[in-house]
Point group: none
Chain length 130, copies 4
Amino acid sequence: MSIEFDTNIPIYIQIMTIIKKRIITGEMVAGDKVPSVRELATELKTNPNTIQRTFQELEREGIVETKRGLGRYVTSEEAIIMNIKKEMANDLLNTFIEGMRGLGFNNNEIVDIVDNTIKEKVEEQQEDVR
Amino acid sequence: MSIEFDTNIPIYIQIMTIIKKRIITGEMVAGDKVPSVRELATELKTNPNTIQRTFQELEREGIVETKRGLGRYVTSEEAIIMNIKKEMANDLLNTFIEGMRGLGFNNNEIVDIVDNTIKEKVEEQQEDVR
Amino acid sequence: MSIEFDTNIPIYIQIMTIIKKRIITGEMVAGDKVPSVRELATELKTNPNTIQRTFQELEREGIVETKRGLGRYVTSEEAIIMNIKKEMANDLLNTFIEGMRGLGFNNNEIVDIVDNTIKEKVEEQQEDVR
Amino acid sequence: MSIEFDTNIPIYIQIMTIIKKRIITGEMVAGDKVPSVRELATELKTNPNTIQRTFQELEREGIVETKRGLGRYVTSEEAIIMNIKKEMANDLLNTFIEGMRGLGFNNNEIVDIVDNTIKEKVEEQQEDVR
DNA sequence: GTGGTCTAGACCACG
DNA sequence: GTGGTCTAGACCACC
């Protein structure tokens, strides 16, 4: 895998969301072993310390668990996993709505804008398909 | 005015949006003189360097213009001002939609979620009012 | 027996105290044969290397003795066994008292705190029983 | 200041408690600026990264706050500071009591032991003074 | 000057 | 082989 990271966001954060997405999409499930620090470091061409930091944070969020000498595992508490998607969506939503409010849009306008934009995007995609 | 800034976002960015909002809301209009660096620095209790940086960026975006010896002014090109709101909204929208896509939501789901969330928020506000 | 170990303390240390407690409580007495490495490893579902390490340390402390070809035995020197409890208690006590001193508590305060806490705990237990 | 660290406990943890103690003893109070990363690193002869880690953790516990470009400060929320001593004492106490229970001591015995030990220590100190 | 992040590489304890 | 910690040194954004 070759990824280029956004230079404005800490790499360890970007890797965190990569892993979270892998879990959300079911690519990784509860109890799965996650790649070792060194493995991921090589795969993503980053420094092991950066990956270490990634997992340290994921652990603090309860998403992975460490078993000494054995490796790290996706938490077996399904509840936590279930929540990841919900939380991430919520974060996006709030930043968006608060931002729009700050620009002076009211509720109806916000819904309208989203509605229209999405529709446009659908058409774009259909054009792509044709 | 006494504001506490979000520690995780550069202050100069936060001040930039403050000024942009003043323009969007009509509080400041094309051709207006903007406060001097020192003035704003005192008003917002920040370091003058920070304000300097703010204007430097606003200038890069064409939103303010410097007239040597006279001060800084909101650009007189109406077109640019008209675009600020649109651009800011667009940025928010794109981050949001791309983020949701990344989480595996499809178009219909996104619209639904926004719709429901907004409705909930409306109710919350009404409760606050009662 | 199925135990889950505290992830932050080396498993071999945790097993050491398990064995020491068995001796303190009289479950195992001087001269008793201790389980073999493989046996204990299966019983506690750990890696044999870990058990090996456990015994290595217990041997260093003079608590078990190895008889080549025969197995390991709780030391027959009663004096050592007698001391285990005393030493373990002493260690706990010292860490505690030194810690409290470091926090600025004086002798009277320390005794008071212990006294009160214990009393509270007694009440809690009584509530549990009711 | 020249300190030798306990090799079995992460240095960043040891420095954390040093700072907490400085706060508990009133040596540092709410709102005080804490030494910069580089400063402390030189003073304690450790690597700046280690100090960085220390503050990162203290920040997560709400004990210090970071102001970008200005430095770090002891939190101004008095409540948090008030709690540090209580929490640290509680931790010590619990480890102690649980440990003693594990060794088979009952409540009365624990209180007695503490009582006697403390008295002994008092005498020792008096001897030192004479 | 301050903190935040990253790379590079090392050592250790653990299983 | 695995993670945890530490040192060394660098670059950057921010104030």
